[in-house]
Subunit: 635 residues, 2 copies
């Protein structure tokens, strides 16, 4: 008798990676399990259509499902396209070959922006104290810990210290191996490590921004507050869904999923720690503290808090307070007696990243008026005027990250990032990231495209293509129209790189959300655009953007270029400031109490502002005089 | 080709237990690994000779080693006796049958004494508070934790509470499943659990005495301070050596051994928790606190502290302070947010058990003079006079636990526990534990035997047999003599149950250590036996002992029977008091600072007192007038 064969070999191309897979899994599950980067923005729910793969010989797979037939074209199905999330392994084949086309692949992101180095006087909660501990003798029957604490008292004037049990398990051997020992004390209140010899120079900490799509971190020397090295990676949770809503949904499917999400993101942080330490030849034992920031969903998922109610009204978080736990309690692989601090959050939609934004932009001080936008899938908008700070969050959607845009993509190699369109000829110049032919448009290019199409009169103030424009680049596509940014021969994909009316509509929705949120806050504090001293734009997205084009499409208020500043990853900067300075940390911890959250849904002006902002640049022309002037009127 | 067979089946009789064992392990390792109770007092070092087993067909074993030939008689070797620790599996047999003779078996101990219930006003650090938490709404954007803390403030007047992260991971679901929730608060300062509904009646704690040979515990209802159920078990560390010195030596052999010792004893505590909860149908989730006591070595081994320097001068412990950690940090399987508290220790040889003795005997209050002996392998001696408490520890050896006595054994089924010897006929009456024929003598019987042999003139004041006594019970044995307590036909072993001069000498050494330690302390505070208001005897050992016989051999000072009290396991009683009452806990935590440790080795009188105490009852007859009078003088 032969057992039924429940396994099949799957070959992923172009990687040449062979994987033994269990029947009846889906291709997406096999890919995710094996670490092969296949995009999935809906978390495997047959919605986003981003996980297309090509399987020429489909023996050993189920037939195309109804859901696939909805999303894939007939032509695609004929050519072997499948949604990896709905293509299920069946018995009948020994081997299946899966081609992951370029548009379905994860790519390493280009992380040029780490958050500007804002110098802060180092004043860390951690300090190292070298001390000489008395030897034990028959006349001195004090314990090792008592003699250690006495030395800290006499030599360093420290009293009333608690001692982490784990930190003293090896104390007898350390004391007897070395005359001098170095003691790591946190907050002048707790001994968290005792080390043989003088190790004062090895005092490190980590600032981490846990974003929905990427984790970014700085390894910091706590003796001088300087960043030694910065690294980042995709948030590994991404295999469970690209946005927070998919991940929260995933966490509800099975009891163990919440733990999987937690372990996944902590695993990511640990990978970064390992990488940072390897590159600098430091030991993770000498990293004693991690300060984390992130949005509220990341906060809940990383800390293992039930995230369910973040996704339904009234969007109540479990806890807003700063969370300070032992690294070992979370499984974060630094010194096990070290601490992990998650900065406080403001609300269900405004997280510790906004607190860090406020800290790093200095908005905790009275002043302004200053408007800060931290642009991402959710955009946080913060407005300071004198002694008030108000904030809100809007679902701006992922259009600026290239999602829901037919040829959209993240700012990684292969992405077009800058576009210029000639107002007369409609010819297009572009700049792309990396050395290969471009395969898509990232956020800044999308903004450029919409702004330049508007200025050259190719689209109207409502984002519709002007039928009178004569250029081969503007053409019909189904019931609608599209504009060719790059012809097939210039691009690294089959066919042309285009932008469609549907894409432009997505951009309008996104920018309308962001602009109207800003407008509601400005209205609330009676601030006109002319009053704004600064408009600060944070987010990895922000730094690539052309200021004038952003104003042309009405994304940000029309203020002088000189008042607009890109902060890069200012959330990470804020985390680093709270890591390095206990004064900054105290400031950060006090921020949520000083910030008023504005619920847009119940703000009377929001609907009007939003509708106005659906126009390019805005239905109310007074708001964007420069943009209005630059637009070429036709027809 | 056939792989060499590296496994062999071992059948352990009389258990009928078949085990697959790996070559080349020892029989002792196989037995320990499989949970078959084979005694080993030296920890498998071919010293104690307690692990004798019988293997009739020794194909598949190494030959008897030189060490075995030293310990086993020629006759035994002929009959297949081996030391399990030196009998090593070799290839050549499919199956080996090992007989574990009765004297080599572990037996369940008889645990009649749990420590007297000393009633203490319940005043636990833990309390349960039922509260009604406001529902979240769009108008109330406070987090779940904020609303919970607000309810605790408004309804229960609790402010400034910290919250254990683990305790609130499920909070959103709990709040939304029940109108009322019950919050467990520790020390009016920390939320450690939030439970749906009203669970106020389920508030339990555990008091545990971690002894070198057994772990004893009380499950306590913290609402009324009453013990619900008590259980105990062998300390599983016993497979790594019977006494603390063997275990400390074992911990030094390999890096992982210390962790093995820690996991072993914590595993034991967890087994007891599981058993207690199963028998009472309670959930370990509703056990929120464990108070532990134990000697200094148990303290270090359970907490995972390096124990090495406890075994060498100047015997310095790592830490003496009370240790309070999260149960999850130690892997203790109660509510993971619950706490484990190890009471403070006094010195390298005087542990938290002595602190608990002092607490439960009330010796923390000025008064006395009171002498307290906690008799075990190490005996703690504590003396209170007015406002001074002094203490010491002496290595009394395990003679009273039946170790180093040829037919000695613990107080388990099969042990003779009481002996009477007729002064004229020398006939012996005995009482044994359990229903079967006796197989050995436990501590109380050993004391009886020595006292009665002395009173009937069979032995002299130096513990030597009197050659003039005519009875078949007194006979030669090698170069020495022995006295038959039970003839072969009365006993459950091959041959007679005897007591030898060598055994009596062991008793003399033990009692001399204990008495001289008491005498040194009494001398130090100028106390004569007539001054002693109370002599308190603790230890499971203590409760079985005949007071008069104990005085006859000079083990305890000669005071009126009415002043002598047996406390049973007073260390466990003390642990329970500290569990139930925060006032008692504070008292316990203050005890080490009030107790003066006396180092016997450097006390000038110790040697003289010890030498005097090597006589029966004592070289100084003034000390034991009653005993002197009761002794029948002969020859």
């Amino acid at each position: 008798m032969r057992l039924l064969d429940t396994r099949v070999k799957v070959l992923f191309e172009p990687y040449g990676r062979k994987v033994e897979a269990r029947i009846p899994g889906t291709i997406l599950e096999v890919a995710q399990y094996s670490g092969i980067g296949v995009r999935s923005e809906c978390g495997g729910k047959q919605v986003c259509g981003k996980c297309r793969v090509i399987v020429k010989d489909q023996v050993g797979l189920n037939g195309a499902t109804d859901k696939e037939k909805l999303i894939l074209s007939e032509d695609e199905i004929v050519h072997g396209y499948r949604l990896a999330c709905d293509a299920r392994l069946t018995s009948g084949a020994d081997k299946i070959t899966v081609m992951v086309p370029v548009e379905s692949r994860f790519r390493p992101r280009r992380f040029t922006e780490w958050g500007k180095e804002r110098r802060v006087k180092p004043e860390p909660t951690l300090r190292k104290y070298p001390v000489r501990v008395a030897e034990p003798s028959l006349d001195d029957n004090r314990s090792d810990v008592e003699r250690l604490l006495d030395a800290l008292h006499k030599e360093q004037d420290l009293v009333g210290l608690a001692v982490d049990l784990q930190a003293v398990r090896e104390l007898p051997n350390i004391l007897r191996s070395s005359d001098l020992v170095t003691v790591v004390v946190r907050d002048e209140s707790e001994v968290i490590s005792v080390e043989a010899g003088v190790t004062s120079e090895k005092l490190f900490g980590l600032a981490v921004d846990v974003g929905t799509s990427k984790i970014t971190c700085n390894l910091v020397d706590l003796n001088n507050g300087e960043t030694i090295i910065s690294r980042s990676m995709e948030n590994p949770q991404i295999v469970y869904g690209e946005d927070v809503i998919s991940r929260i949904a995933f966490s509800q499917e099975k009891a163990e999923n919440r733990l999987m999400l937690q372990e996944s993101v902590i695993g990511g942080v640990n990978t970064l720690i390992w990488q940072l330490c390897r590159e600098t030849s430091l030991s993770p034992e000498n990293v004693y503290e991690v300060v984390l920031v992130g949005n509220t969903a990341m906060h809940h998922l990383l800390l293992g808090l039930e995230p369910r109610y973040l996704a339904r009204a009234p969007f109540t978080p479990v806890s807003k307070s700063p969370v300070d736990v032992k690294a070992r309690d979370l499984g974060v692989k630094i010194n096990p007696c070290g601490h992990v601090l998650f900065l406080p959050i403001i609300d269900g939609f405004v997280g510790a990243d906004a607190v860090a934004d406020i800290l790093s932009a200095g908005i905790y001080r009275p002043g302004g008026p200053i408007l800060l936008l931290d642009i991402g899938t959710n955009t946080e908008v913060i407005l300071r005027r004198e002694d008030r700070v108000i904030c809100c969050s809007c679902a701006s959607g992922p259009a600026f990250e290239g999602v829901h845009i037919e040829h959209g993509m993240k700012a990684v190699d292969g992405a077009i990032e800058k576009i210029r369109i000639d107002k007369e000829t409609y010819e297009v110049e572009f700049e792309a990231l990396g050395d290969d032919k471009p395969v898509g448009l990232c956020g800044s290019a999308i903004i450029d495209a919409v702004a330049q199409l508007l200025q050259s009169g190719v689209i109207s103030g409502l984002g519709k293509f002007n039928a009178n424009i004569k250029t081969p680049r503007l053409r019909k596509a189904g019931n609608s129209k599209e504009f060719v940014i790059a012809w097939g021969e210039e691009a690294g994909i089959d066919g042309d790189l285009t932008i469609s009316e549907r894409d432009i509509n997505e951009v309008l929705l996104a920018k309308a959300a962001i602009y109207s949120a800003s407008a509601v806050l400005m209205g609330k504090l009676n601030i006109g655009k002319e009053d704004l001293k600064k408009v600060l734009i944070a987010g990895a997205f922000g730094s690539q953007v052309d200021k004038r084009n952003a104003k042309t499409i009405g994304l940000i208020p029309d203020v002088d270029d000189g008042r607009i500043r890109f902060l890069g990853n200012s959330a990470l900067t804020g985390a680093r400031m709270a890591l390095v300075s206990r004064r900054m940390r105290r400031l950060a911890e006090g921020i949520p109490a000083k910030v008023e959250y504005v619920e847009l849904a119940t703000s009377p002006d929001f609907k009007k502002e939003f509708t106005n902002a659906l126009w390019l640049p805005n239905r109310n022309p007074v708001l964007f005089p420069a943009a209005e002037k630059s637009v070429k009127k036709r027809g």
